[in-house]
Subunit: 187 residues, 6 copies
């Protein structure tokens, strides 16, 4: 039984509650969501989406991916994505997998397997969670803009913020969040 290792892992990920989401912080959102809060919000969205499409996704697997997808940021902080060369991003991915393995070294290997699957992005659940990651982000953009927090208009203009992986559920969710914001997804 890996009881001590579970507590060690919990201690290691403790600072995630204070790692700020960089894209919001750098655009003037004060007190932006933490990576931990983002992961909670994404896991809930994933659960609701899978409940709507029970035959298309393994809900349990998808929710697990949402919970762990950013967990290595407890050591790297949230590095804004578009920054850097292809080499930088590849090396960053390797570093992140390394960190993930160290964080959960003693506990059940199930988490590491789930993480690897998410990274490969070749299962329906991995694609779903990658898409929902952006749906969640755009919901936050909508909410922050209602609250007059930050300079966020540009989020609505970039197609890479609306990746639907040709899945109707993602497409519908992006349409819905844009509609509520009085916008249209970019083409």
């Amino acid at each position: 039984m890996a009881i001590d290792e579970i507590i060690d892992a919990m201690i290691s990920i403790h600072p995630l509650e204070r790692v700020p989401r960089a894209g919001f912080l750098l655009r003037g959102v004060t007190e932006p969501e933490s990576v931990a809060a983002h992961s909670h919000s994404l896991a809930l969205l994933t659960l609701m989406a899978c409940n709507e499409y029970p035959d298309d996704f393994d809900s349990s697997k998808a929710v697990e991916m949402a919970l762990i997808h950013d967990i290595q940021e407890v050591q790297t902080m949230d590095i804004p994505l578009p920054v850097g060369s292809a080499e930088f991003r590849a090396a960053k991915e390797d570093t992140e997998e390394e960190i993930f393995k160290r964080l959960f070294a003693g506990v059940s290997p199930a988490l590491a397997e789930r993480y690897a699957e998410f990274r490969r992005c070749d299962s329906p659940e991995a694609k779903l969670v990658r898409g929902l990651d952006k749906v969640q982000m755009m919901v936050k953009v909508l909410c922050y803009q209602r609250e007059n927090r930050g300079h966020l208009d540009e989020f609505w203009e970039h197609r890479h913020n609306f990746p639907d992986f040709d899945m109707p559920v993602l497409n519908a969710l992006f349409e819905a969040v844009a509609r509520k914001a009085g916008r249209k997804p970019p083409r």
Copy 2:
């Protein structure tokens, strides 16, 4: 399909990222975890615990409970538990269920069912998550004390912070967190 309702629910729960955990705030922890970050941390702990005891718990069900167990606090804020009479606590529970239903009115009823099961506290998963809720809290106490944040010694003295529901996994986790803090669970 309840696509719009999912986005509505996401917007409604948005402020959870800034609701502070009251027990920590009131004892002088600055920038304490939010209820959203707490829920993420608890869901991860639940996942790890269930991975260790795959035959004893329905992991998927337990993780869902962890994700939603405090979600009504987006409207009530985090009201410290020991406060108030039995009548107050009963009325509070009713109010919380009411809020939960309104929050997820249009989406799949699966969430509301899960929430009701957690509230009844009669399944192994509900008991597990109630116990882990306190394990997670004591891990945070340990981490904050290492960081010299707040006046938290009393947390180690109250038996109601160490509810093990006669489950070996909970008992072992409470022992482990106390040991790492150089303490013993109270008897």
Copy 3:
């Protein structure tokens, strides 16, 4: 002499300086006023209002009510008002009176008497302070909106935010704050 008890009471109410006003926090106001700051602001407003109407109110009594009216929130946090059933609100009131008594157990009973009078809401001063509590809130709404903080338009639409208890002073103050905000009180 209750010297030690006075210091004990001061220590007990210390965290009030960090209890955030929930209605503002939940609508996206970052760094909202604390309950302590709110109480200071309300006490000043009460003092100014009584100075204008010296024959209508016992200024000293009204100011005391303003100072203590929310003090139990040091244990309950600020629970948003419209939440919950009539039973919940009644039980909440009882709990609050209980807390108040415990907080000031050893000091002069004069505070507890003043608090009880405020709760009964049957004296001119109690009504005045209840009305000014909302005047103060709407001044903060006006100020936060000037500063682009939060999503607060709905405050101007609810009649229960403008309770004048048929008192000309309250009516005039609500008119004045609305006028400065370029609004009209709702009818």
Copy 4:
């Protein structure tokens, strides 16, 4: 009737809720009390002290002084006291009275009279409130130290933090707060 002027004054003093107490901020206390919260806390302490000595002080007058004693800091911020020459402090006092007058220009002159009386420091109430201002400060030092916030030991060493104006009530309160902190007031 000075209704508009009252609202104007309330708007002018609005930022007091975010002016940090400088002595704490500069010694590493994060999220220190605001000047507004300090004034609330002092007014409550004044009320309790006067309730214990009903024949010695005009409670109403003393509480008013507590409420307004630092209000000009909404324009100057909290300038740490021991800084500066006698000339600087005299000019600062003049500036502060000037600001006070402008802030409450249109409202009842009663506030300005009370403020002037506090500044002259020749009535029992003015002396009481000046002493309690330090009692309140030392209670906060005690509370912050329990919470491990900041580098505050030196506060216990300076006699000017324990001015008792030869009043038994102040002397007793300083003794009590030091005793609870396991200290002695300096001689």
Copy 5:
């Protein structure tokens, strides 16, 4: 060698990282720049301006002035400028020079000389840095307004925020920042 004195000076100026710029805090900007961050930003601006006009200014001298110009605020906090009488401002200047000398008592007198030169404001570099101090402020106003932070319109209306000392570089920079904000400098 004044090695210990250098470390002492660094410890003394440590709190500058948390001294908020008062003008922004008081107008509702949450998490405003610190005086340390302001000084960094001004030093960079000074460096860039001098690089453009290498024959007109001693870059090294000007950058040093930018680095130290507000350093006494680690003891006084940032006192808003327009507040106070001429006497107050003169006494404040004396106090500030006094503090500066004490802060760097043991280290090379070069800093104190540079500070005195800045205070006299009779060299091109001193005038440049005084002008750039306002250019930097107006850049922050522009940035905060883009981010919807605070109530800052009035900054664009006061001529004293646009002091060009008849220097083309200052004039051009004020024109540029106003143009980017869609405004014109006041006349």
Copy 6:
């Protein structure tokens, strides 16, 4: 003249005032210094060190390096150093230089040359500033520990936090800061 480009650069680096120093944030320091405040503090330290050794260093060059050494973090955030493989660090360095060039594209190339020199680390000034970067960090560790902020003991144990490049000035400064903290530099 590159006036508009200077303003553009100032706008681009604006968020640096809110980028937190990751090593402190992740170890429980609340409200840690920003990268901008760190750079200001380092530039001052550099200036004092060069004033003590006027024959050994080009003060102006060293101060400029201090001002710009972390400026790319306005886009990458502060990525904790020991994280990642050699490939990751090399790719990160390339990315950072790229960002630096873009940030100051239109302004005088002098800054980019200075930055490149700092990166090569082959001049006395570059080595000095790299060493002082750690001296400044250890001064902050000392200050935060006095203030009971965070869990920072491990900083004193790692030799890589005390790089003296065989320079007496660095060696003496590391000795001095450790002595004031009641510690010894590791060997």
